[in-house]
Amino acid sequence: MGMHGDFLQLLKEQGYQLETPVSARADGQELTSGTTILAMKYREGVLVAGDRRATAGNTVMYDRTDKVLDLDRHSVLAIAGVPATAYEMARVLEHSFKYYRRTQLQELSFEGKLRAVSKLLKDNVAAALAGTGAVAPIFAGYDLEHGAAKIFFYDILGAEFEGVEYAVSGSGSPTIRGILHYLNSWGTQPLSELSEEEATIQALRLLTCAAEFDSATGGVNREANLYPVVKLITKTGVQTITDRRLKPLFDAKVSRHV
């Protein structure tokens, strides 16, 4: 029975299985993957951003992917890896958090949400190792209980690491990891002291860098009005920065440097 408010357990009792264990990959089939996602703390909370390209090998599958997904009013999951599995995980998590809140009449704790992510990744290990379902997400949110923004990132086996200042994942992430470290250590101010606008500009620059060196990361395409997804999570909840706000920032603060 669902008296514990565990939605995944409820699904499993009905025969649901997250992973699809495949012993070997179909010959020559390139799986969709490739991404750059990043999360960094700024003055009011945490910023999470992702490029919008989905690739399979050398093919660009789609250029308008949304890799930063709202799970509830105060947390998001940024996904890197096999999208089919990642989207399914986000769907399970979203429903799990809602189900817990509605049955138990209280919000699932931040720690509880982290555990839920780990558990899903652990259930998915076989598919991750077979290569058909590897996902390395970033979970970021505002912990209302402790009044603090938090970032966690995961490897494909479900190990959880806290990103104290920032976290990155995806094929383009090695490029920007070093930059983030440099900015945070020797920049004019640490990342956590950036304003909302400054943090947004840095995120746009970082993703542009990643796109420069990683073919599987999509850059900004001004002609197609295509910008990365940038979300801010503060005490008041998740807020998506519209393309209308990203455009002038990109024009003034990013493009002239490219």
Binding site: M1, G2, M3, F7, L10, L11, Q14, D70, D72, R73, R91, V92, H95, K98, Y99, R101, R102, T103, L105, G237, V238
Partner: protein, 276 residues
């Protein structure tokens, strides 16, 4: 002995009597559409009676808390499994009631060797556009009714009719502000509660009465309603929740906190609420 059909009918009849008795002390529930969504209101003595079921569906209940919990869990389970396996748009109040809880309640009611659910349920479903809201009520025997604009729960159908008559006279509800909606819902609740009290005092609206008595079918006057509300607000907890069409994100349900509700109460009740 229940193998004989008429015995069974008799047993079911007894059940009705038994169940009617159980709801006599219950607090009515009011749900109505207003400009920005749906408002649900009741007055409770501690145990909450208003709940979130799904993104756009809320529940109001009367009856035994344990039975309500059981049915609430059934609804939550059905809604979330359906919402996950199909899509959130496929979770509708009508389906939850018709193919979900109504058959469960009816079965429990007619299985005369087992205990029935002591519960009446109201489901309010927020439409995508105003004017598309749906309200469903389920009685303890599993019969259900779908209405538009508003719905109420009370101890008997006679009392519900009184509340309905009152609500029908409140014009312009669909364009009402949240303050107006709280006011109308509270007064409808008070009408139900007063008629219920009178019925209990032996002056049943259904029973024949002598000519010198004031007709029990006449609604309580405005002054009586206000006095009743003043006493209620001072002693008990007004519980209020909304489904807001404009709320950010997919979940539209929000329970109003005491201080917010305090600001929304009709002016002459605000002081009483603050002191309580």
């Amino acid at each position: 002995m229940y193998e004989e059909p008429y015995r069974w009918v008799e047993a079911v009849g007894n059940r009705r009597q038994y169940l009617d008795e159980q709801f006599k002390q219950g607090s009515p529930v009011v749900a109505l559409s207003y400009a920005d969504g749906i408002l649900l209101l009741t007055v409770s003595r501690g145990t909450p009676k208003l709940y979130e079921i799904y993104d756009r569906i809320a529940l109001g209940g009367m009856g035994h808390p344990a039975d309500l919990e059981k049915l609430r869990f059934d609804l939550l389970e059905m809604a979330h499994v359906e919402g996950f396996n199909r899509s959130p748009s496929d979770v509708t109040g009508t389906r939850l009631v018709k193919y979900g809880v109504a058959p469960i309640i009816k079965q429990a009611f007619e299985e005369i060797f087992k205990a029935p659910f002591i519960a009446k349920i109201l489901l309010a479903e927020l439409g995508l556009k105003s004017g598309r809201d749906a309200f469903l009520t389920i009685n303890y025997d599993g019969t259900f009714e779908e209405t538009a604009g508003w719905a109420v729960l009370a101890a008997t159908t006679a009392i519900q009719d009184h509340m309905g008559t009152y609500l029908k006279n409140e014009t312009g509800l669909e364009a009402a502000s949240i303050e107006q909606a709280v006011g109308s819902a509270l007064q409808t609740w008070a009408v139900g509660s007063l008629v219920q009290q009178r019925a209990e005092a032996g002056e049943s609206p259904d029973a024949p009465r002598s000519a010198d008595q004031a007709p029990a079918t006449s609604p309580p006057d405005a002054a009586t309603v206000m006095a009743h509300l003043r006493a209620t607000v001072a002693e008990k907890t007004v519980e209020c929740a909304v489904l807001e069409r404009g709320a950010p994100g997919s979940s539209k349900y929000r329970a109003l906190k005491a201080d917010e509700l305090g600001r929304l109460l009709p002016t002459d009740l605000r002081n009483v609420h603050r002191e309580a």
